[in-house]
């Protein structure tokens, strides 16, 4: 299970809304506690896909390396990668699966008309042939309510 804390969640949404109508991507940093991945920080990464970024994203490995070092210095881990699907649902596409790295989990944010619509989290299998949904927790939009569960 992955649980995204409010500060990180709001940073991810803000990044995805800002980048609309292009896909945005970033790294999720945090800690593992009792089998739960707790995301404490979201680090926006540049989408370096060499073409239209409306439906594709690519992470620059050199930038990911810098983030990995940053996580190390904070005593945190890179737990996963998030990216947005502008005007598409939150699903793990074949493109997402085939270009993934099985070491991480992947949060997909659906952004419709520039606003957040839904989210999901997936974990690809080791051969990148299929993926499994991973339960995802993120804070509700109104700060009054504490945490709502989505899967």
């Amino acid at each position: 299970m992955i649980r995204i804390e409010r500060e990180a969640w709001e940073a991810m949404l803000e990044h995805a809304r800002q980048g609309y109508p292009e896909e945005t991507c970033g790294a999720m940093l945090g800690v593992r506690e009792d089998g739960i991945k707790r995301v404490l920080r979201a680090v926006p990464l540049q989408n370096v896909w060499p073409g239209s970024r409306r439906a594709r994203y690519q992470v620059d490995p050199a930038e990911l390396l810098r983030v990995e070092r940053e996580a190390r210095s904070l005593d945190q881990q890179v737990l996963g990668i998030y990216h947005s699907h502008p005007d598409e649902g939150a699903y793990f596409s074949r493109t997402d699966l085939e270009n993934a790295c099985p070491w991480y989990c992947y949060v997909v944010l659906s952004i419709r008309g520039g606003e957040f619509a839904e989210a999901g989290c997936w974990r690809p299998d080791e051969e990148l042939k299929g993926s499994e949904r991973e339960p995802l927790w993120f804070p509700a939009a109104s700060s009054g309510e504490s945490v709502c569960r989505k899967s």
Partner: protein, 477 residues
């Protein structure tokens, strides 16, 4: 001992270690040691055949080993090796791709039967958008083959008119096209070759004002230009927009090609931080070019473009291919991204397009040439000859050019021999210098004046202007 940093996601397979020191002389040896020490790590890093998995990148300090010697890259005790995955994806490209029509399936059948291309690759080609800057020697074969291969949207930037001297190498054009706009002819030709694709023309010079706007709509930019200001412009625009710049250049019997501005790879400025002084490197119009040469270099660029689109093979990134037609030899130079590069470095100082003519010193040079009112018009030279005045007409071209055509009475001393042969000339005599277009003779005039010759003049426009204005029987070349 060299140190290997374990990415956080893999530490659970490495007894929670964040870094490990191991013995080994190359990256390959170190990784093998690592997998031997932590057997659970092996399947995460290597395939069953023992190759690094496709998504695994290895860095030695700040450099990707793909741009070094791969697994054979040597390491020392001071080096840090990092393991970084490649990650990409996207909503829907593969799923929503339009299929191919029956005609397209026939047209591309030789691609479709190759597993490396197949339907998936052909659809990638169809969805690709490639901009070719310059529809000349390099642009001609490039555009023809990319159109034939089925690149779905091709953009061409050129504002020139077809000239008879173009036909020796610019195979987009034929003899009846002389005098027509290049773009008009090119678009017609490419649409006839492949009506399934879209061809867009931009009849303009690429400038700092329009470059980002034009490039923005394309995935890959191919540089088929012939001058330094545009090359720097294309490079900087590609780096700023994060688009690959497939580069080629040609001169006489030699050519170069590489792919710039890929993530982690070098850009044109990493190779050439400064432009050459204006006039030092002659253009093809001045120095000539073997007509076949742009065909070969242009097709290296086309090949790399298609590979980038298909995502197959080893891209020409971090490697500069040098081709020598006379020796029929290819050589390869390694290129590295310069961390101090002003445009693609770690702390870039160029964040917007600049004035590239000024950067390359082109405008100043033109101004200087125009300012000299001691130059002689072809008509004035004709009048001097008619009056029987005494002067020396000096031709500073090469002997093989002199044999194509010459002005009667001219004495030949090629520009490069001039410094050693000054003693053959009389410094008191009036000397009128000419070449083909007036550029080399301007250099000769400068050299002679500095050597103390007082009555030296340049023939404006060279023998080309002489042919236009005085004697049309003199052929132009």
């Amino acid at each position: 001992m060299p140190k290997i940093l374990i990415p956080s996601a893999l530490r659970q397979y490495a007894e929670q270690q964040a870094e490990v020191e191991l013995q080994g002389a190359t990256v390959g040896e170190l990784l093998e040691e690592l997998a031997a020490k932590y057997p659970e790590l092996r399947r995460h890093l290597f395939t069953a055949e023992g190759k690094l998995r496709s998504f695994v990148n290895i860095y030695v300090n700040e450099e990707d080993i793909r741009y070094l010697q791969r697994e054979q890259t040597a390491v020392t005790a001071a080096d840090t090796i990092s393991i970084v995955p490649s990650i990409a994806g996207g909503a829907a490209v593969a799923e929503t791709a339009a299929g191919l029509s029956r005609e397209e399936i026939l047209r591309y059948s030789r691609h479709l039967i190759m597993p490396e291309v197949a339907m998936e690759g052909q659809l990638k080609l169809k969805q690709a958008r490639v901009l070719v800057v310059g529809a000349g020697g390099l642009g001609s074969p490039l555009a023809l083959y990319l159109a034939a291969a089925g690149v779905g949207r091709l953009g061409l930037v050129d504002y020139d008119v077809v000239d008879l001297t173009n036909l020796q190498r610019q195979i987009l054009y034929a003899t009846p096209d002389v005098g027509r706009k290049k773009l008009e002819v090119a678009i017609e030709r490419l649409r006839t070759l492949n009506p399934e694709i879209q061809v867009e023309g931009y009849e303009t010079a690429l400038t700092s004002e329009n470059a980002l706007e034009i490039l923005r709509d394309y995935d890959i930019v191919v540089d088929g230009t012939d001058n330094f200001p545009t090359r720097y412009l294309v490079n900087d625009a590609c780096v700023l927009l994060g688009k690959p710049n497939v580069y080629g250049s040609i001169f006489r019997f030699e050519g170069q090609a590489t792919v710039f501005a890929m993530p982690g790879g070098p850009c044109y400025r990493c190779l050439y931080p400064e432009p050459p002084p204006p006039g030092l490197v002659p253009s093809c119009a001045e120095g000539g070019v073997l007509g076949i040469l742009p065909g070969l270099i242009g097709l290296i660029q086309a090949t790399e473009t298609v590979k980038l689109i298909l995502g197959t093979g080893r891209p020409l990134v971090g490697r500069l291919v040098l081709y020598d037609a006379l020796a029929m030899r290819f050589r390869e130079l390694k290129l590295r991204r310069d961390p101090n590069c002003p445009v693609c470095g770690d702390r870039p100082t160029i964040r917007a397009l600049i004035d590239y003519e000024q950067f390359c010193g082109v405008r100043r040079e033109r101004g200087m040439q125009e300012a000299d009112d001691r130059d002689l018009e072809p008509r004035e030279l004709e009048a001097l000859m008619a009056r029987g005045e005494r002067f020396l007409l000096l031709d500073v071209r090469e002997p093989h050019e002199h044999r194509i055509c010459s002005i009667p009475g001219a004495r030949l001393i090629p520009l490069k021999e001039l410094p050693q042969r000054l003693h053959e000339l009389d410094s008191a005599e009036r000397i009128i210098v000419h070449c083909r277009s007036g550029q080399r003779s301007a250099k000769a005039v400068k050299l002679l004046r500095e050597a103390g010759f007082r009555h030296v003049q340049n023939l404006k426009g060279g023998i080309l202007a002489w042919s236009d204005q005085v004697d049309p029987s003199v052929p132009k070349y």
